[in-house]
């Protein structure tokens, strides 16, 4: 292992912290121990590690975090982060702690069973036992191992059979006004057969101190079920984030994911879909709008295990200032997955000569009767479009905003929830200084 002294320091420091908090002989503690051992063995990814080559996560954590201060209770008012017009089940976490007074469940228990993950584990809930930590592989990724060993709050959401539910929105708010914040959290969503649901995870933050979150969500989508998943990351410039969202899809299920990254210091999103059935349809959309010295790294994996499935991915990014966008999309088509159709596209615009983009679309195919393609482009503002608008008397700034808004619009157009679409449109417009 090519771990430099500093990086192994931070890894062992974190390992000690995890070990200190580890409570033995409670439900799930053996799993935590196992994950800790794996974390110790793997260590945080070194600089040269292929999967993290553009996101030096170990170095950034080493440099910017002490990991010493206990996570503080916050007094922040989450009202400004909520989506006002959305009729949904609202669950709020502030600095990793469940905030009961700000949460509101409107769906009856006959539709959605919501409980804390720890309680569900303690109660030996068979669904939890069947799926918890079974899909998010902690044996290969140190950050997932860290999460599995050290998560402190989490939710278990169980959508019962043949239900169409109101959306569920989970707010992850970090308040770093009083000092450094580090949270490790985890969710499990199980959508039973024939159901349809929408899960929104919204990440916001305030305060000038650095804050980091390590968040893992596992989603199981059973036969004929549909899950819509939104990740809205609108943090401030001191937010460091690691996210893994792992989907496990069965026959004829459908998943739509939408990822919006609008800010943050270092955002690493791992979105992984395992298509373990036939007739599955999966759509992934992503938009990252970066400026200043933001770094957003989207790694996606679509793993086609069985025949006759379809996946489609479109990620778009606009990089301004000193920002850096990273995209890595993997499509695996296993030997049994004949008649797979898989498509992937990544489009980027660089607005300044200090902004960079690293993209790596990757196809790995072991079946012959397939149609797969990927494409990616990187460029600047479409000069012809700009010229067209300028000749019609539109100012440079407005024309620029129009072109960028149209570029981002392709992602927004795919959002199928009207209120959310409206809200996201507002966020994006504001971000792109839309003034027309």
């Amino acid at each position: 292992m090519n771990v430099s002294v500093n990086e192994s320091n931070i890894s062992s420091e974190i390992a000690q912290l995890i070990e200190k908090d580890l409570v033995l002989d409670i439900p799930g503690s053996s799993l935590r121990k196992e994950a800790l051992e794996i974390f110790k063995r793997l260590g945080l990814p070194a600089n040269k590690a292929e999967e993290y080559k553009d996101t030096p996560i170990a170095r950034l954590l080493q440099k910017n975090f002490s990991f010493q201060s206990p996570s503080v209770r916050s007094t922040a008012d989450p009202a400004s982060f909520l989506i006002p017009s959305l009729e949904a089940n609202v669950i709020v976490f502030i600095n990793g702690h469940y905030s009961k007074e700000n949460s509101r469940i409107i769906s009856p228990d006959s539709e959605i069973a919501i409980s804390s993950l720890a309680d569900a584990l303690a109660a030996d809930d068979p669904v939890v036992l069947k799926h918890f930590a079974k899909h998010a592989d902690f044996k290969v990724d140190a950050l997932t191992a860290w999460n599995t060993a050290a998560w402190n709050e989490g939710l278990f959401l169980h959508i019962r059979k043949n239900q169409v539910t109101k959306p569920i929105i989970i707010h992850h708010i970090q308040d770093a006004v009083a000092g450094e914040v580090v949270t490790v959290s985890r969710n499990l969503l199980v959508v039973d057969g024939g159901s349809k649901t929408t899960l929104i995870e919204k990440f916001d933050s305030c305060g000038q101190a650095n804050h980091f979150s390590n968040h893992v969500t596992e989603v199981v989508v059973a036969e004929n079920a549909e899950a819509n998943f939104y990740s809205i990351q609108n943090d401030n410039g001191n937010r460091y984030q690691y996210n893994l969202t792992q989907f496990y899809q069965l026959n004829n299920s459908r998943v739509n994911t939408y990822s919006f990254t609008l800010n943050g210091k270092m955002i690493r999103n791992n979105l992984q879909l395992l298509l373990d059935g036939e007739g599955i349809e999966s759509h992934m959309f992503g938009l990252y709008l970066l400026d200043k010295d933001s770094l957003a790294d989207n790694h996606t994996v679509v793993d086609h295990r069985k025949a006759n499935s379809f996946s489609n991915e479109l990620y778009k990014g606009i990089m301004d200032g000193n920002s850096k966008g990273v995209f890595n999309g993997k499509i695996y088509v296993r030997p049994n997955a004949q008649k797979t159709n898989a498509f992937q596209a990544n489009r980027n615009i660089l607005l300044t000569d200090k902004a960079t983009v690293n993209t790596k679309p990757q196809l790995e195919i072991w079946a012959d009767d397939v149609k797969c393609s990927h494409g990616c482009t990187t460029g600047q503002l479409d000069e012809e479009a700009m010229f067209y608008l300028r000749t019609r008397g539109i100012s440079k700034d407005t024309a620029r905003a129009m072109v960028l808004y149209a570029f981002a619009g392709e992602i927004l157009d795919n959002v199928n929830h009207p209120e959310l679409k409206h809200y996201l449109d507002q966020l994006v417009s504001e971000r792109l200084h839309k003034n027309f």
């Binding site: 679309p361 790995e364 195919i365 079946a367 149609k371 797969c372 494409g375 990616c376 460029g379």
Partner: protein, 481 residues
């Protein structure tokens, strides 16, 4: 389906056509690698002191390096101490003309279809024939010499043009560039050297024919092409190798140095022994090829048809340093049986208005694994850089794999980069269309594959295009349904 399997069976069970061994007395070094062996090679070749030092420096670097593990290929570990690093056909005197050459060697070339005399008379191709690491004869030297073009074996160049060799060797691929390049720098036995002077357009295609003979010999070729201002050269490299049960290592280095407005076109047809249909034997082809567009307006173009080798690890690259320079990469890589190929290119844009184009066509059949790995890097200073990449894969059969690993790193906002890749099999509708018009299935497949690879094959010089098409047809016809 049955018919296809039958045809496939016939083809894949076909023995390697160019597999035979001719007994030529060889003068070999003992097995193993150490400083002594390097001194032995250097002494054998009567090399000057500076070259020995250069080799030893490379060897010391190599001992500190580790074999790359990132390629998408698997093979048993290579015991570098179990290889012979020098083997030269034994000759008493240096041949002055063809009659002096060992008749056994001439026979080898005749079997390969590149008889020197015939080449000389009919095709007008100057051939620098290499058998087991030592150049045996060079033709058309006089014609080239009149234009000031130097085209000779590497060892000859070391003796006669040391100043050129000294200046340019290692300038594009430094000794410590990678594991296999370092190994090559330490133990290379021979190769080709080519220098095109200012403003000269080389009137013929320059060509080397490589051939591995004697068992247990790793072949370490080194090619250096220097194109001076405003010159043009088209260089061909072709390979066939005899059948062996033991794996043979081939770690070559090719360096191209293009000055202002120079153009170099480098074409390869690679048909080393791929191993038998159970994946036994075959050549390990670990090659470092790189071109430097040093001067403004220079252009380097790589074209390759890869059909052979058990394992191919090869990334012909272009460093686009000069403003307005241009790099091209055209590749057809075919893998069958248990072959593994991890090949692609790197385009490093440094200068302003640099352009690159990548067209890669992979075809995998049998149990083979075929990977495209490429990098397009636009540096900060590379204003208005432009890249277009297309890498398509064709799968035949459900036991093979096709993989694409493109890296696109952009640090300049005026760059325009496009990349697209597709993977599919031959469409049933395409086959149906041909069948309807009375074309049998096998010809239909050949037609479609040829059409699929056409964009690349078109880039090859005429002499090569024929051979390449034959090779494609031989490896693939009928292997799909």
């Amino acid at each position: 389906m049955n018919k296809d399997n039958q045809v496939l069976e016939e083809l894949t069970s076909k023995e390697y056509e160019h597999g035979w061994t001719i007994d030529i007395e060889t003068d070999s070094a003992p097995k193993g690698l150490n400083e002594g062996i390097i001194r032995f090679i250097s002494a054998k070749k009567n090399e000057p002191e500076w070259l020995l030092e250069w080799r030893l420096k490379a060897y010391r670097q190599w001992t500190k390096m580790t074999e790359p593990k990132w390629p998408n290929v698997t093979y048993p570990p290579i015991d570098y101490q179990d290889l012979i690093y020098y083997s030269a056909p034994k000759q008493k005197v240096q041949p002055k003309n063809l009659e002096d050459v060992d008749p056994e060697l001439i026979k080898t070339f005749e079997k390969l279809g590149i008889s020197l005399t015939e080449q000389k008379r009919l095709t007008g191709v100057a051939v620098d024939a290499v058998i087991d690491s030592v150049s045996v004869a060079t033709t058309y030297k006089t014609t080239l010499a009149e234009l000031g073009i130097i085209f000779c074996s590497f060892s000859e160049a070391v003796k006669e043009h040391p100043e050129l060799v000294k200046k340019y060797m290692g300038s594009v691929v430094p000794v410590n560039d990678n594991y296999f390049a370092a190994l090559n720098s330490a133990v290379f036995t021979d190769g080709s050297f080519c220098y095109i002077p200012k403003g000269v357009r080389c009137p013929m295609e320059l060509s080397t024919y490589f051939r591995i003979n004697a068992a247990n010999t790793g072949q370490f070729e080194r090619t250096l092409i220097v194109a001076d201002e405003g010159s043009y050269v088209s260089y061909l490299e072709g390979c066939t190798a005899p059948m062996r049960d033991e794996n043979q290592l081939h770690a070559a280095v090719v360096e191209i140095y293009a000055m202002k407005d120079a153009q170099v076109k480098y074409s390869t047809v690679q048909n080393w022994y791929p191993g038998d249909k159970h994946g036994k034997g075959g050549i390990y082809n670990f090659v470092t090829k790189r071109g430097l567009c040093f001067g403004d307006g220079s252009k380097i173009s790589w074209t390759q048809v890869e059909t052979g080798s058990a394992i191919t690890w090869k990334y012909p690259s272009c460093i686009l340093k000069g403003d307005n320079s241009m790099g091209e990469f055209y590749s057809v890589a075919v893998t069958n049986n248990y072959q593994q190929a991890d090949t692609g290119t790197k385009m490093i844009h440094i200068g302003k208005n640099t352009k690159s184009r990548i067209v890669s066509k992979g075809i995998s059949a049998g149990h083979s694994q075929n990977s495209y790995r490429g990098q397009v890097k636009i540096m900060k200073r590379a204003e208005n850089a432009r890249n277009f990449s297309q890498c398509d894969s064709l799968l035949m059969g459900d036991k093979c794999g096709a993989h694409t690993f493109p890296y696109i790193d952009v640090e300049n906002n005026s760059a325009r980069i496009e990349h697209e890749a597709t993977t599919s099999k031959i469409g049933e509708d395409q086959i149906f269309y041909c069948l309807q018009r009375g074309i049998d299935e096998e010809s239909a497949v050949a037609l479609i594959v040829n059409g699929y690879a056409k964009e690349v094959l078109n880039q090859l010089p005429m002499e090569f295009a024929v051979e390449a098409q034959k090779l494609l047809a031989l490896t693939l016809e009928g292997s799909v349904g």
